[in-house]
Structures are given as C-alpha cells and as structure tokens.
C-alpha cells in the first residue's frame, strides 16, 4: 500500500535539541529559591531503622529540613514488596532512608554525614538458592517471597534438594507457578535427541545514561514535577497517586529521557521521584534531587537472574517436541517480575514446542530491586536455548538454519500456555532474508575454521516479545489555522515513537508532516492516556489510537462538509490540506475553513458533547480542558484480538581467540519482523541499539554483590561491564520483512525488546560453535569462562550462583 508517511524517514522534532544539547532533561531545570536534596541510603543489606538523630544536621547553616519514611507514610509503610519512597526497613544496600534539603549539595552531604541512624541488622542473603535451603536467611521480614493477595511466605527446600539442583539435577520441590500443555512424556518418548542440563543467567542493572533525578515545586496547589520516564500519561496517573495529589493538580514534565528500558515506564518502579515532591511540600521550596550513578544502580532496577534446569527433546527431523523447564528467578530486594513465566512462554512461541511444562519459583535476595528490563525473561532464555538448538542440529545431522526454519512460528500458529493465536508471523521470511544478507550458506562453511590461535564461530539467533496492547486513547485537533495537533502521551525516551506513532494521524488526513504539531512533553498540555512505553507496544498501541482519533476527526470533517456543501459524508475525501467531493474536487473546504466551521458548530465537533464514555479518566480530563478549542477527534481503542508478536533474527560470525578468551564480532546481520515498518531509521536504531544490549547480555554485563557484607561491587559503568564501542561491531547490518499485521490499521507491530534477544542468542551460539559445540549454559559468557574451559581449569566457584561472577 502506498503511504504518505508510513514507512518513510523523517526528522523528529526533538532531534535538533538533542544534537545541540539544548533539550532539557530533569536535571537541567531550575526554579527560583530551589534547594538541593541528597539521600541517606542504607549501608546495610537488610536492617531496621531503630532511630534517627538529625538534630545536628538540622542545626547547620543552609539546611532546610529532612524527609523520612514516617513523613511520607504517616500510617505506616505499604505492605508487601515493591520500591517505597523512603523506608525504615531497607532490604538492599542503597535503599533511601531519608532525604535532606540544603542550600547546595555540598552542604547537604555534610549535613547527612552529621545524621546518626541506628540500624538493627537483620539476616541477609544474596543467592536465592541459599534462601531456599532449609534454615537459610530470608530477604524480607516475613519470608523470602511474596504471594499475590496472600502476603509474605517463606519458601524452603531441603538442603539436599538445593544441593542436588546446584549439581545440575532436576529440582524436585513444588514450584510456585507452572503451566503445561501437550503430552510431555509422549513427546520425550518420540524424541531422537534429548538434552538435559542446568543454566544460569545474570541479572544486571539498567544503567540508563540519565539517572532518575527529579525536581519538584508546588504552585497554587498544583504539583509540578520534572522527572524522567518512558511514559508521560502512562506514568503520571499513578505517580499522582504515589505522591497523594489529585490527577488534576499534578503536572508531570518530561521533555526528554536519557534512556529507559523498563524501570521508568510505570510510577511504581520509580517512586523516588516523589521524594522532591514531598520534601518540597514540607519545606515549601522547589527541590532538586540529583541521583548519583551509584544510586541509579541501587534503586534503578535490575533484570531478574535465573538459575534453572531444562530438558529438551527433538524428533529425528529436528522438531522441538518437548521442553521441561524449571526456573528459580531472583526477585532481589524489593520483589521482582514475571521473567521466568515469560521465558517459558517465549520458547513456546519462538520454537513452537509441541509439548511443554514450565515450573517456576521466585525468591528474594538482598540485592538491587528487580523488574522488567528489555525483554524480561525472553531475552535471558534466548541465549540459553540457541546453543542447545545447535547441539540438537549437530546430533541429528540437520543444518542450523534448517532446524530453525522447521521450528519457527508462521502465520496461523499459536503459542504460550493459552495456545493463543499470533496476529501474524513472518519468521520463515525473516530467517531467509537474514540468511541471504549474511550469505549463510557460504559463511557456515567457515564454522570452526582455525587461523593460528583464532577460530571462527557462526551463530544464528531469534528473539521474541509480545508487541502490542489496546485500551488506550487518542486525541487529535484540527486547529483554526489548519494545522493538525496530535496529543501524544508516549514518553520521549529516545525511540522517537512519540513522533512516529503520531504520523498515523497525519496519514489518515494526508497532512504534510510540517503541518503537524506533536503535543507532548508535559501532562498539562492535555494528553490522552497511552500505554506505558514498555513491552515493545508503543508502535502497535499508539498507531491504533492516533489512527482512530484521526478517523474520528475525519468523520466529523466529512459530516460538516456534507452538511455545508451537500451530499453524504462518504462523498468526501481529503488531500492537499482540503476536504473535497470525490466527484468534484472544486467543491470543498480548506482544513482551516473546516476547523473554523467546526468551532462554530461546537458540541460533539469540539469535544463539548458526545465524548466517548469509555475514555480513561485522565483523557476525559484532557478532553474537558481542550473542549471548544478546535475541531477534535477523540478515540478509545477498546481491544484487539490475539497476540501481536515482535520477532527478530540475527546471524553473526565471530573470531574467538583461544589464547585470550576474547572474540571479535566479524559480522552481524539482524532482521526485524515487526509488521509494516513505520519509521525505517527508528527501526534501524532499535535493531542496532538492541544488538548492543544483546552483546552486553551474552558477553559482558554482571551484577556483583559481596557475599561477606552484601555490598554491591558493580555500581558503575566500568565494574558492571556495559559493552563499549570497541566491543561491538563497527557495522551492524539491518533489514526488515515489512509485511502488514491485520490487527493494526497500518499493519505495524513493535520491536524494541526482541531486537536484543536475537543478538544475545546468536552470540552464545557463535561462541559455542567456536568451541566445538561446548555449552556454557550461561549468560554472560566472559573471557575467564572461555579460558578456564580451554585450559581445563576447574574453578572452585560454585556451578550455580546469582549476583556473583557466574550468574
């Protein structure tokens, strides 16, 4: 289909500001009378605050006050797990205990040093398996896990059960969570090759470039909060609740965000932004709270690490017949996410496993809080499964691409525990496209070729994440001057999807892009409720809402045209910033004229009547504030059918140096399968950015805590080993299938998270290939692991661990 905007590159409006440095992040704002907050955070992994003596600090010149958990939770801290604004019972080192405001940061730090906090030390644990073992410490008071609607519980296995699992055997304890489909026993019986083994994956921090700094002030009863987020309305609605201010009195300002990967999408994962809001309210001054790199590490969230066991059976033709998987996931110090379930769901979809059983248990540790991080679950498991698939291919005498083509999802397939249909799936096309671009048939002949100390490894990987939601709203306005305003609540975290999804509205009205204003950046610009910008959903979800709002606007325009110019609404179309009769293009009105006419008519045309009743509350508020200002299109997107997937495929060649354990990525091709492409440059950026993340997951990033004292050892970029530009290929070649999905008006689906998974999978597969098919069953695979393997060194390190060098 020929589009005016869809599938075309464009320059998003904030690019110039980002390139020149003029765009403002939260820390760049100031306000007259602004003071500076610093945090006193817990130096102990698990403790109870017995007393706080801040008298000396409060007596210091330039100190304006402190804020404690007792201030923000006068009726007691919320029960359950989850990050709190401040706490008197920290469950990880670095958790904020109190904030102090002073004339400058230096004074604040000096004052904090003068505060005496008496802690009661409580038992701590860093490895969920240590907590699972009978008699092991629990991360939380009341248990080591939190059961929804039931409260804290202490999950224990016998020490023999834990030891047996650590040694690689199938866990025998009852899981917290499970699903199954198909006849697993029969499927294993039909299998010609069965692999069984244990695995670990590391949890690691988000390390967004911009820390979660925030500045707040109150004016005329309204709270103005400058913060950082992946979402505007998706976060602001709940943030108002956390601070305790009515939605109509809360203005969230966030023009740009320096990276967000799951822990800035929702208010619950970033409650620290309430600290300056509450402190400002208490001392009646604007408060800036800068968050340090280490603080960003400790409260910024981390991926859940896995310790798992799996058994995977393949038929003689290569079909993945059976998978039995058991995962212990690390819930960290503040509760975690559903990564283990998502990992199993991913395998089911990505490899179309015929019969499957998933068992999972999530246990806390006194380490960084866990939650969604780019492909939570899907991307941990991708690098574990890919080398196993290659092992099966080798054992069964099948080509590695062929075994993937055999098992890959395609149109009409279902997946997951509910056997839910996919909205569409063009993975065979993606695999073939990637193979052609990579020149797979020639490249695979280089597999395991040696050149001195170097050996070539070839890897193929696949990634998946659900990539679309519904239930959100859209607002567009045709202004009296004929310009189109698209109100967009999507955050600006660097993907530019706030702009690319707005182009769906421009497409409907055939409006030149330079005549479109994307209204975003702060919630008092009257934005609709959009989905939190996570789960790779923005493109799918918000093209639906913007398309729908524009269709509503178009319908109103046609109704007015028919009313004034004769005929039926269906007789009219748009083009060249005019609405005109299809049969007689001279009969029509300019967009400016019809917008002005709409204003004269008022009522439903301007949002003053017949507003959709099913709009979300905040959208209703925005519509009420905009009512009467322009000709409006308003839309609530009720639902979509089935599971819209985001898929990726990656092919890579590495050259591994057997003398150093290091490898160079010689070539990498990554293909997106995300329906119709909305914005090629944005998609390319997602694929390349995701590739860097995948390289980090499979090769570098770590989450270290010292078992002796619970202190974090990887708080900065250097120690957490985020990959650098010289660790990534000079060029990552990209492509996309670009076939439409039926559940989206322009055929688009999301891609953000799968962009990482396929790369992480291809990389571990390539490493395994270079080492004659050796399976590490771990991510990351670091140089020391490779060297130890090659040298036959048996490290004394435990085989399964979390928050340590292995896992």
């Amino acid at each position: 289909m020929a589009y005016m905007h869809i599938g075309k590159d464009f320059v998003p409006p904030d690019v110039a500001g980002k390139v020149t440095g003029r765009i403002k992040y939260a820390e760049d704002y100031s306000r007259e009378g602004m003071v500076y907050a610093r945090l006193l955070t817990s130096p102990i992994p698990h403790a109870r605050v017995v007393s706080i003596d801040a008298s000396a600090a409060l007596a210091m010149d330039g100190v304006f006050g402190i804020l404690t958990a007792d201030d923000v939770y006068p009726d007691g801290e919320p029960g359950g797990t989850g990050l709190k604004i401040l706490t008197n019972e920290p469950t990880l080192v670095g958790e904020p205990i109190l904030a102090l405001a002073a004339v400058d940061e230096k004074t604040a730090e000096s004052a904090i040093a003068a505060i005496s906090v008496t802690f009661e030390r409580l038992p701590f644990v860093l490895d969920p398996l240590d907590s699972l073992a009978e008699g092991g410490p629990d991360a939380y008071t009341g248990g080591n896990t939190f059961v929804f609607r039931e409260g804290f519980a202490s999950e224990k296995w016998s020490r023999d059960q834990v030891a047996s699992f650590r040694a690689g055997a199938e866990p025998t304890a009852e899981p917290q969570q499970q699903f199954a489909y198909g006849d697993l026993e029969a499927a294993f019986a039909q299998s010609a090759f069965v692999y069984e083994g244990s695995f670990t994956t590391a949890g690691y921090p988000h390390m967004s470039m911009e820390p979660r700094s925030a500045m707040a002030y109150w004016e005329n009863g309204k709270l103005y909060l400058h913060g950082t987020s992946q979402s505007l309305t998706g976060l602001a609605v709940d943030m108002a609740g956390i601070v305790g201010v009515p939605q109509e009195d809360f203005v969230f300002i966030n023009e740009a965000t320096g990276g967000g990967f799951g822990q800035r999408a929702r208010a619950g994962s970033i409650p620290s932004m309430a600290i300056p809001a509450k402190l400002s309210q208490k001392i009646n001054r604007p408060v800036m709270m800068r968050i340090s790199r280490e603080e960003e590490f400790t409260i910024g969230g981390a991926r859940q690490g896995f310790q798992g066991w799996l058994k995977c059976g393949f038929k003689a033709d290569g079909t993945m017949a059976a998978l039995d998987i058991y995962i212990i996931s690390d819930n960290g110090g503040k509760g975690g996410g559903g990564d283990a379930f998502a990992a199993a769901d991913c395998i089911s979809i990505l490899y179309q496993t015929e019969a499957m059983r998933f068992r999972g248990t999530a246990i806390g540790s006194n380490t960084g809080h866990r939650g969604a991080q780019r492909g939570p679950g899907q991307n941990q498991i991708a690098p574990i499964i890919a080398p196993i698939l290659d092992k099966a291919a080798a054992e069964l005498g099948i080509d590695r691409l062929a075994i993937r083509l055999l098992n890959t999802p395609q149109n009409g397939d279902v997946g997951g525990p509910q056997r839910q249909p996919l909205t569409s799936a063009y993975m065979p096309e993606a695999l073939q496209q990637g193979a052609a671009l990579f020149n797979y048939q020639e490249r695979i002949t280089r597999s395991r070729q040696r050149n001195g100390s170097k050996v070539t490894g070839i890897g193929v990987g696949q990634g998946y994440h659900n990539a679309g939601r519904s239930g959100m709203d859209g607002i567009v306005r045709l202004m009296p001057d004929g310009r189109l305003a698209v109100h967009n609540g999507v955050g600006n975290l660097g993907t530019y999807s706030y702009a690319s999804t707005s182009r769906a509205a421009a497409e409907v009205l055939q409006m030149p892009w330079e005549r479109v204003d994307v209204i975003t950046g702060r919630t008092d610009r009257n934005l609709p409720v959009t989905s939190p910008q996570d789960g790779s959903n923005s493109i799918f979800t918000n093209t639906r809402t913007n398309w729908g709002a524009a269709q509503d606007l178009l319908a109103k325009m046609k109704e007015i045209a028919a009313m004034d110019l004769g005929g039926a609404p269906a007789d009219y179309t748009v083009g060249g910033e005019r609405i005109y009769k299809i049969s007689d293009s001279s009969t029509g009105m300019t967009f400016a004229q019809i917008a002005q006419r709409g204003l004269q008519l008022g009522g439903k045309f301007t949002g003053e009547a017949e507003v959709p009743e099913d709009l979300n509350d905040f959208t209703k508020l925005s519509v009420s504030r905009l009512a009467g200002s322009a000709l409006m299109g308003i839309f609530h997107d009720s639902r979509h059918n089935n599971n819209p997937p985001g898929f990726t495929v990656t092919f890579t060649e590495i050259e591994l140096d057997t003398e150093t354990g290091k490898y160079d990525i010689v070539d990498m091709v990554t293909i997106g399968e995300c329906g119709t492409v909305m914005h090629p440059q944005g998609l390319k950026n997602q694929l390349v950015g995701g590739a860097v993340w995948g390289i980090g997951l499979s090769g570098y990033e770590r989450h270290l805590y010292d078992p002796q004292n619970g202190l974090p050892a990887s708080t900065g970029y250097w120690q957490s080993k985020v990959p650098t530009i010289l660790d990534t290929p000079a060029k990552i070649r990209t492509g996309w299938v670009d076939l439409p999905d039926p559940e989206n008006p322009v055929g688009a689906r999301g891609i953000g998270e799968p962009a990482m998974g396929a790369v992480s999978a291809a990389l571990t597969a390539a490493i395994s290939d270079a080492l004659d098919g050796h399976l590490f069953n771990a991510s990351p695979i670091t140089a020391d692991m490779i060297l130890n393997h090659l040298a036959g060194v048996t490290s004394e390190a435990v085989p399964l661990a979390q928050n340590n060098f292995r896992g």
């Binding site: 610093r38 945090l39 006193l40 955070t41 817990s42 130096p43 102990i44 080192v93 670095g94 940061e105 230096k106 604040a108 730090e109 000096s110 040093a113 340090s292 790199r293 280490e294 603080e295 400790t298 100390s453 003398e659 150093t660 354990g661 290091k662 570098y700 270290l704 010292d706 078992p707 002796q708 004292n709 202190l711 050892a713 708080t715 970029y717 250097w718 120690q719 080993k721 990959p723 650098t724 530009i725 010289l726 660790d727 670091t782 140089a783 020391d784 692991m785 060297l787 130890n788 090659l790 040298a791 060194v793 048996t794 490290s795 004394e796 390190a797 340590n804 060098f805």
Partner: protein, 331 residues
C-alpha cells in the same frame, strides 16, 4: 559503617604551583595532607566518595618543566605530567620505544588519556573494589582482606606476591617501563632520587599502604628511558573484559633483541598479576641465547607462572598469562 554514595566533592584547599620549587616546597610543607593531583582520574573518585579526605591538593599539571618528551644523551626523558595521549602519539616514543607508545594508547579511554598523565598512571592507587569502596581492609589500615577469603570477589586479583593484600598493579604503562628498564626521577625539597622502574613499585609485604616508594613530600617528576632497548622487538598486549575503558585482567610488555633468529636478550613484565609489575626474570634467562621458536615459547610460558597461587575466581589468569608470554616470545 561503610559509606554509601556521596558523589559530591568536599571542601578542599587547592594549590596550583607553576614552578618546580613551589611544588616541592608545598609537598614538603603539606606532607601527607598534600594530595598530588595530575589528571585527576585516580583522585576524584576517592574524594567524591569521601573515602580519602586529604586537606589539600597540589595540582602538578601547570609546571611546564614536568611536561613533554625530550631527547637526552642516553635516551629520552618524559615529564611526569605529560598526558598519555601525547606519549601514545609522540613520534620519538613511537619510533624508538613503541612498547610504551602502545601501552599508553591502551590505557582506559581516549577521554581519560587526554587528561591522564604518565605520573598518575604509574602512581595510581590499587583498584581492588573492596579498598575503593572504603572498607577497612589492610591497605586501608584495617586488619582484614575481603578479597582473599573463601567468598571474596577476587576475579581481578593477584596470582603472585600476596601478603595480606591481593590487589594488583593497575597500570598499563608500568610493565612497559619495567621492560624498557626506565628510571624514575623523584624529587623533593631535599633533593633527587633516581629509582629503577622495577624498584619504584612496592608490594604489600614491604608496604601494604602504598603502591610506590614515594615518600610524603616526594614527587615523581620524570621518567627516563635509556637507549638500551631502543628499537628492540616489542610486544605489548592488554587483555581486559572490555576493549576500551577497562583495567587489564593480565597485560604483558616485552622487549626482545633477536639476531639471526637467536634471542640475544629480553626483558618481560606482566601487569595485573601482582601488586607490582611482575618482571619475568626466569623467563628472560630461559630465553637468552635460544633460537626463537613456538616450542621455546611454550616452554618459557610454563616458567612464567611458576609459583602462582590462584584465588577462588582468578584461575583463568594462569593460562592467560602463559598465553601472553607465548605470544610475546613468538612475536
């Protein structure tokens, strides 16, 4: 109680002498209270974390006499506050002592090399994370080593020379200068000391608090490299987790003189395996007079790691060190 994140510079007196006499006088007067500041890449973390709290800093980078690279009668002299970028790019260093140019060019990242100085890279403190975190370890004046324990996170720590502390020398230029048989020029208000590079660094058995022999009031002002090893065959390799902005897991610097395929002489030093750059004298002795070959490389590689005592997580450093020695000998 262990400090948590501060990330704010404290109040501190800053002295910015512009000539050597003033700098030496300040160093003498301030003694242990006078923190010597080069490019600041070792300094600011300590101070912002408030794990070191000196009363004053003496900034050395405004003393022109301590900058630059000049030819001397017997080699070259490099001012201690010369940036690593300048050393890496200097034609004289590149042409005659390429080993140092390569090593300097592998320090950290371009941004850090642009401000980081040779003196700072040589005199920088241990990077053991326990020590840097402000824990009360031996090196910090306490009575425990958290890294050398059954549970210690010691993947990056020492194979050799452990004596209560197992931190390693983090410098990339140090092994190169040991291999080049450089001399450190150390001045104080009391005069000048010339110290062989190999003796400039000290391990914990001799001094568990300091990484170098510099006393309070003394300043490393220059490094002299004799022509002894000029234009020898050089080999430098640093293996780190990341290819930029990282410290070595193991590094090697080698200068080898070969004639007719026979090794006439050799000097080799490894970084990140001991608290000091580890000179491989047994390897050198085994190489001298031998025909260069892969077999010889394999033989001496084993010698290089004799006496290594791996910790719980750093066994990999043994094969890595052996492999780097092999590569250096093979050339």
């Amino acid at each position: 109680m262990v400090a948590t994140s501060h990330d704010v510079m404290p109040d501190i007196e800053l002295y910015q002498p512009t000539d050597e006499a003033n700098a030496l006088a300040l160093a003498a007067t301030l003694g242990a209270d006078g923190w010597l500041l080069g490019g600041g890449q070792d300094t600011y973390g300590w101070l912002k974390d408030r794990n070191k709290t000196p009363a004053a800093m003496i900034e050395l980078t405004q003393i022109d006499a301590w900058k630059g690279i000049k030819e001397t009668a017997d080699g070259i002299e490099i001012g201690a506050v010369t940036t690593l970028t300048e050393i890496a790019n200097n034609p004289l260093v590149q042409s005659r002592f390429g080993l140092l140019a390569t090593a300097a060019g592998r320090v950290a990242s371009p941004q850090i090399r642009n401000v980081g100085t040779l003196g700072g890279n040589l005199a920088q403190d241990a990077r053991c994370w326990y020590y840097r975190r402000g824990l009360d370890c031996y090196r910090a004046g306490g009575n425990i080593c958290y890294a050398d324990s059954p549970e210690g996170l010691n993947r990056e720590h020492a194979l050799f020379g452990a004596s209560r502390c197992v931190a390693v020398s983090p410098s990339d230029t140090a092994p190169a200068l040991v291999a080049l048989d450089a001399t450190m020029v150390v001045r104080s208000s009391g005069g000048q000391r010339l110290i062989p590079a190999q003796d400039f660094f000290v391990g914990p058995s001799r001094d568990i608090v300091n990484m170098t022999v510099l006393n309070d009031g003394e300043i490393l002002t220059a490094v002299r490299i004799p022509n002894t090893w000029a234009n020898a065959e050089f080999y430098f390799e640093k293996v780190a987790d990341r290819n930029v902005w990282d410290f070595a897991l193991v590094s090697i610097a080698a200068a080898i003189k070969v004639s007719g395929g026979v090794i006439q002489d050799a000097r080799l030093a490894c970084g990140a395996v001991e608290c000091v750059p580890r000179r491989l004298e047994a390897v050198e002795n085994a190489l001298r007079g031998k025909q260069r070959s892969d077999q010889l490389a394999d033989q001496v590689a084993v010698i290089a790691t004799q006496g290594a005592r791996p910790l719980n997580y750093n066994h990999f450093k043994v094969p890595l060190m052996q492999n780097l020695v092999k590569r250096a000998v093979r050339g």
